[in-house]
Amino acid sequence: MALSVREYRARIKSTESMKKITRAMELIAASRIIKAQQRAQAAAPYARELTRAVSAVATFSNVDHALTVEPENPRKAAVLIVTSDRGLAGAYSSSVLKEAERLVEKLKGEGKDVDLYTSGRKGEAYFKFRQRRVVQAWTGFSDQPTYDVAAEIGATLIATFLAEEGDDEVAAVDEVHVVYTRFRSMLLQEPTAVRLLPLEVVEGTEPPEEGDLLPLYEFEPSPSDVLDSLLPRYVQSRIFFALLQAAASELAARQKAMKAATDNADELIKKYKRIANQARQAGITQEISEIVGGVNALADAQAGSE
């Protein structure tokens, strides 16, 4: 790579400006991640109370609800894949897509057809490029999801689950899965697949201990009516939880990726600087030797003419 000093200087400059950008993105991700975590924490009381209420109803009434009934012969499954809207987050989107592919393979192995639903532009683009049909895609909110979006996604998925086979408007499915990235810590985010519907016997509550039984609730208007409005909200809150976790994971992954990019840029600048200095030094040496050579030649010529 014998380039002129000027060219190396230009490269150093462009690498430096790139470094500034990645550094800024790293800082932005770092500041947003705190907010994302706070949002996840702020949503926790709702999820907790809802879970309590669901387990209370489930314990005290033998009401079967459409959302909890296990279909006898599941043939069709919907998979919601939560990805990011933007790239530059390392392997974030690709690892959640890989997990999703694994799940899809598994479901197909069990003889179920799979309908895909995605959230985030990356997921949509992935399937579009492979010319696979996505039933519905939601985009534009991956780093700060609102409850409204979760409610809409939930409503759509519940509608597909409740729809009867042969319904024209919505594609009926027998189960609904969600693939998202769980935020374990700043360093660890894992892609996770969970089954959302049919709802399993209430998760996330420890079995009541002796003498710590749930109170005997009165239900108004009736247990089944309460359950009717409770369960869809529970599903939506689970989806909201998944979206919030995914948002925090995305930001953590982006921060990590951008930190690595900044470090690499630093390294590259160092390397270029060395080469540039070397080239500069070589130029100077050459000039000196040219001058010395010229002087010598002149001296020789004068000595010859005398």
């Binding site: 009381p45 109370e49 209370a56 409850y147 109170p215 009165e218 909201f240």
Partner: protein
């Protein structure tokens, strides 16, 4: 109810994305699908669905807090009251002007389905909450 005087309700008003209000109260009034219900300390355990409306909370200091809520749930057990709603706003957070506009829009949208009715009820609840507080 002499023994209930030392009892207070531990109230949590929770929206989907945040805890709106929590604290101690002597009475809570909310609107369920069956009608308004008032909760005093030592109320029997209750789990009820509520509709768009106003929630009144009388705190132990004698203050009254008013909030507008969407459809959701009310659960009462062991003097703990939790009100769950996808959206909830305290009266001082509501922009009265904007709420009025929302009501106008909801009424004039001309649709006559459940969603439209819900929007009207929601806007009305917000206006009621804001007006009563002021």
């Amino acid at each position: 109810m002499a023994e209930s005087t030392d009892k207070v309700l531990q109230v949590e008003l929770v929206a989907a994305d945040r805890l709106v209000w929590s604290g101690q109260a002597t009475m809570v009034i909310a609107r369920t699908t069956e009608g308004d219900v008032g909760i005093l300390p030592n109320h029997a355990p209750l789990l009820s669905s509520i509709i768009e409306g106003v929630v009144d909370v009388q705190t132990v200091d004698g203050e009254t807090w008013i909030a507008a809520v969407d459809a959701g749930f009310l659960s009462v057990a062991d003097n703990r009251v939790s009100i769950l709603s996808e959206r909830a706003e305290m009266s001082h957070e509501i922009d009265l002007e904007k709420a009025r506009q929302d009501l106008e829009r909801a009424k004039t949208s001309g649709e006559n389905d459940d969603a439209a009715e819900e929007a009207v009820r929601r806007a009305e609840a917000r206006i009621r909450a804001a007006e009563r507080a002021s």
